[in-house]
Every structure is written in structure tokens, then in C-alpha cells.
Subunit: 349 residues, 2 copies
């Protein structure tokens, strides 16, 4: 239709704000007001303008708006999480929230061990004049990065298992609750000799999950034997090492809880290498519920965090001020994990 209208410009050429203004017989400023939902437009003027916008198939040019606003219509996802599934699911969730907003998602992996980390992020945010940034762990826990974003006046939302920031800049996941569920599950299966494989100290989640797990065990009167306490690295290989270390003990544990799935599967690998049969000789529970969890044998019982929902919630929180929304309701939300029971953990012999 727009193509047939001689006033709408050559076919194939996009309509601009000027075309709309001419058609609607108003100034471009008024069109701009309509686009930006200003309340200072008479109802019938607005309707007329909207009709022309519709007829011409006009969409404002994001680049031009960005230049005038001195802020782009881009949201950044800065991540260092090593799990591809985590990253893709989170991306998907953020995109769910961005849909229809006119904002696009720019992805930016980073490495906290690199000396260029801060310069790199500064360049990225400053150059693109990002509208905001979302960060999952562990980069969300890096105080240097936060200080930098504050200095650049770049809005952000961080996702973490500890409330490290004001509620409007923070999505908190209750990892401790999930770990407690794992503890209760193993205890109710009759296990008393239970091993724990932690993550690295760099991740706050390791401390939070450990505490939730140990507190729940303590409530049931099950202490953790210090020799059953192993510090891993959130990697498969460290899980293998943990499995060998714990299973080589004179009185090995009958069950092991690992603070992520990669390590759980590593523990299973070690058990196999030692000739054990699973789950008969050892119960294992993981954390994350990666797709892999449902595919390994025996299928892994694991604590699931709703990553995609978390991405969506974080993005909604980031967008709330831009939309002039009251974030109070959003700020109450706390993300709760659930235990997915499969068959890698069974009754103690």
C-alpha cells in the first residue's frame, strides 16, 4: 500500500519522520512526540499521526534516535560463565523481555583473568553508548566492573546468589534453598556419609550453596566429615579428581553432592574408573540441571535454576526505568531453584 502512494517516496525507500509529518500535516516534532509517547499531544492529532505511521509503515531509525538521544538502543550481555547452555538460555530470556521494545542484544564474553578486562568493557560500553548491561555470575560479582559501570553512568542489572547491590540493580537467586533441598533428599534416602564437592572461591555461589547444604544437614543432625569436604573448580576434570579423592578414603561416602553438574558427571566418571556400579555403589546429586543431566546414565538428580526466566526478569528490571515503570513489584522477586529428582541418587544400602 505504502508503495502505491506517490507521496510515500520511491518504493523500497523507507519512510522518514519527515514523510509522516508531511502526510499528517504536523511538524516533525509532533511526530516525535507521538513516537515517544509524550502526553502533550491532542488525542485526535495523535490518532491522525498514528494512522499515517501505519499507512507508511514507518519505523523510526534506531541509529538516528541513538545519535540524538546520545544513547543507543542496544543492551549488552557481558558474561564469563563457562557453560554454553547457561549463556544461551540467559540470552533467550533477555530476548524474550526485549521483544517489541526496539532494543537489540549485543553479546560480549569476557575473561576476568585478563589484565585488559576493564579497558575492554569500558571501550565496549562507551563506544556503543549502551542503554544498559546485564551480567550473570561470575562477572556480576566483580566489584571493579561495577565501579566502572557506575562511573560511566551505565545502567546495569546483576544476577547473583547474594544481594550485592540495591534491589533495582540486582536479581537474587536463592541457591541456598536449592542446596538445602538436595541435602534433605539425600538424608531422606538414608544417607549419612555424604560428601560435598565445592566450587572455586571466586564464585559466590559456591559459598552460598555450601552453606545451604551444610545448614540443612546440620538440622537433621548429620555433620560433614572434614575429609568429605572437597574443593573443586566447577569443571568436569575437578569432579573426576574429587571423585577419586573421596572414593579412595578408607570409609568412602555413600553419596556425593557437587555444586554443579559438570563436577557431578566428573564424579561419576571417577566412580566408573574405580570399577563402581552406579547408582548402586554411589549416589550423586548435582546443581544446574544442564541438558546433559537428563542424558547421562544414570540420569542425574540435580537442582535446577530457571535460567531463561532469570534472563527475562533481569531484562525487565533493566527496562523498568526506561519505561517509567515502578520497579517495586519486580524487586520483590527472588528466584527459587527446584530439585529435579531422577535416578542417580537412591536409597542408602
Amino acid at each position: 500500500m505504502a508503495q502505491d502512494d506517490p507521496r510515500s517516496g520511491k518504493p523500497g525507500k523507507r519512510a522518514t519522520i519527515n514523510d509522516v509529518a508531511r502526510e499528517a500535516k504536523v511538524s516533525k516534532k509532533t511526530v516525535s512526540r507521538v513516537i515517544n509517547q509524550s502526553p502533550f499531544v491532542k488525542a485526535d492529532t495523535r490518532e491522525r499521526v498514528n494512522a499515517v505511521i501505519e499507512a507508511l509503515g514507518f519505523t523510526p531509525d534506531p541509529q538516528a534516535r541513538a545519535l540524538a538521544f546520545r544513547r543507543s538502543l542496544l543492551v549488552g550481555l557481558i558474561y564469563d560463565n563457562p557453560s554454553p547452555t547457561y549463556v544461551v538460555n540467559m540470552q533467550q530470556g533477555v530476548l524474550d523481555a526485549l521483544k517489541g521494545s526496539g532494543l537489540e542484544l549485543v553479546v560480549h564474553p569476557c575473561n576476568r583473568d585478563m589484565p585488559t578486562l576493564l579497558d575492554d568493557i569500558r571501550g565496549f560500553v562507551e563506544r556503543q553508548r549502551l542503554s544498559g548491561v546485564i551480567m550473570p555470575p561470575s562477572v556480576s560479582e566483580d566489584q571493579r566492573v561495577i565501579a566502572l559501570l557506575r562511573e560511566m553512568d551505565c545502567p546495569y542489572v546483576r544476577i547473583a546468589s547474594v544481594a550485592l547491590d540495591e534491589p533495582e540493580a540486582m536479581l537474587v537467586t536463592n541457591d541456598g534453598m536449592g542446596a538445602a533441598e538436595a541435602a534433605n533428599h539425600l538424608a531422606s534416602l538414608g544417607h549419612r556419609r555424604i560428601g560435598l564437592v565445592r566450587g572455586p572461591d571466586l564464585f559466590r555461589s559456591s559459598a552460598v550453596r555450601s552453606k545451604g547444604f551444610l545448614d540443612a544437614l546440620a538440622e537433621r543432625g548429620i555433620p560433614l566429615d572434614p575429609s568429605y569436604d572437597f574443593k573443586g573448580a566447577y569443571t568436569f576434570e575437578s569432579g573426576v579428581a574429587a571423585g577419586h579423592a573421596l572414593l579412595a578414603l578408607e570409609t568412602p561416602p555413600t553419596a556425593i553432592f557437587t555444586l554443579n553438574d559438570d563436577m557431578a558427571i566428573g564424579v561419576m566418571q571417577a566412580a566408573r574408573e574405580r570399577g563402581l556400579e552406579l547408582p548402586r555403589d554411589l549416589s550423586v546429586v548435582g546443581f544446574d540441571d544442564l541438558p546433559m543431566a537428563a542424558r547421562v546414565w544414570p540420569n542425574l538428580t540435580s537442582v535446577r535454576l530457571p535460567i531463561r526466566d532469570m534472563g527475562r526478569m533481569a531484562a525487565e528490571k533493566l527496562l523498568a526505568p526506561m519505561r517509567g515503570l515502578d520497579p517495586t513489584g519486580l524487586n520483590q522477586a527472588e528466584v527459587r531453584p527446584t530439585l529435579i529428582v531422577r535416578n542417580s541418587a537412591i536409597k542408602a544400602a
Copy 2:
């Protein structure tokens, strides 16, 4: 340093092309020429301008350039691949190539089954005025999408296992060669009763991999029993179904090659459910070499495609014309998979 210079503007405010022009005592047009590497600048003028750029820490505003160029400095990755690992690795590879180019990566998942697919992609590309688009399978094989991008005059590179396009718009992976390696491996282990689990017809890779596999078997005088030929869906569940179907046969195969890893692991699950012991009772070989492959038990022998390299190569191809490079060398490259031998396939009994 720039902050101390009174002429460089207020601290915290970014230098613009005007600041550089004033400092270097040239017109902004000349600065623009330097930025864009025009050859029509005297060497010492260029040096003077570059010195000022350096001193002021000037970086051109991407939004402003985008507006003037009528093209943004954004590259899109449009994908529908269901494997998170595939997507993240490809992203990483594309970013490797983009590093330092000033281009950023915008991710855009899509669904080929949605009726809105084309409108959705059109809106995305048109609104953002993308510099180019990279597509992995299966969206790379969708002729409607290609027609749309051509119509919009948007450069693209597609990745696929068949040369569907001119070399400069195409990165071809030799999946057939990888499948042939799998066939040779199983044959040399003494297997003669070999099952094949294909992918869906929607993916060209399924046909290509099947052909490579069957041709290699034929060369060794091993025909495929039609009852050993199963059509899966590239999903874990379809692998489970395939495993049950093939293993329920009166004379079941001693080895199964699946056209991706998810199905391979599904076959293993089915074998377990039927009480078989692996790898003793069944050899399995997959394709993709997902991280999972090295973590399941027994560790899965699989054909690996260098996904990250592929992302990098595709992006380099996309960038070549913008950089005024001759893409001839780039066009020769064909991506070759390698068989990663682990212990899920052993000598036939």
C-alpha cells in the same frame, strides 16, 4: 593526559571529530579521511591527525557513522540451531574475527516453523541496517530467507554442508568426509552389522553425512541392511526411539552411527534400558563432538567440526569486501571434520 588539555573539552566528555580537527588544524573532512583510511591524505598530515587522535583518545561514534553511512556497525548472527554449545562456540568464533574491527555482534534466534519468520528477519535487518549477517544451519539452508536478504541488499555468509551459494557467500563444511571416517573406523574394528540413525530431511547435513557414510561402507563391501536405516530428528528422544527400534530387531546391529551426538547418547540410553552393557554389547559413534561426548560413559567416539573456527572464517569472509580484501584465498577454504576416537566403539565380538 587528554583530561589535562583544556582544549580537549570537559573531563568525562568524549572527544569528537571537531576536537580532533581543531587540534590538528585541519578540516573535519580530513580527519574523516584518516579515520576511513583514504589514500588521499599526505603522509605528514595523516601522522599529525593520528597523533591528535591518540592524544585525545578519540574514537569515532558508531551511531553517527551509522547514520551518515546509512549502515550500522552491527553484524547479525541469525540462528535456529538447537544446540547451545554450537551457538556459543560459533558466536565466539565470530567475535574472534570481529575483534578490533569496531563491529559488534547482535544475536537473533529464529524459528523456521513460525509464520512470522520472514517479517521478523526483515524487521531486524532493515531496522538495524545491519552490515551483514551470518547464518549456520538450518536457517542457512532456507531459500526464502536468502531471497529476502538479497532483496534487502544485505551481505551475508551462510554455513552449510552443501555449496548452496557463490563461494564468497558460503562456508562449506565437508561433513561427508567426517562421516566416511566414522564408517572406516567401525569397519576397521570389524563391524559388519552397522546401523545408521539419520537426521530430519530439513537439514541438508543429514543427507550429506548419510551419503559419506554409506559410500565409504560400500567401498569396503559393506551394504546397509534397510532395516538398519532409521530416520531420527537430531534429538535425544529420537535417539532413544532409534535405539529401541534397532536393538529390538531379530538380528540387531553390533554398531550404530548416529548423525549427531544427542541421538548417539539417546541410543546409549535405550541400550541401557534394554539391559545391555556398553560398549561390550554395542558400539556407538556420534557426530558433533559436543562437550557432553567426553563426559558420558563410555566416552563417546565422535566426529568433530571446528565450530569456533567456522564462525571466525565465516565472519572473515563477510568482512573481506568491507576491508577491500581479495576473498579468493578465503574462498578456497573448506572445513574438514576429524574423528575423535574414545571408547564407545570397540572391536566387534
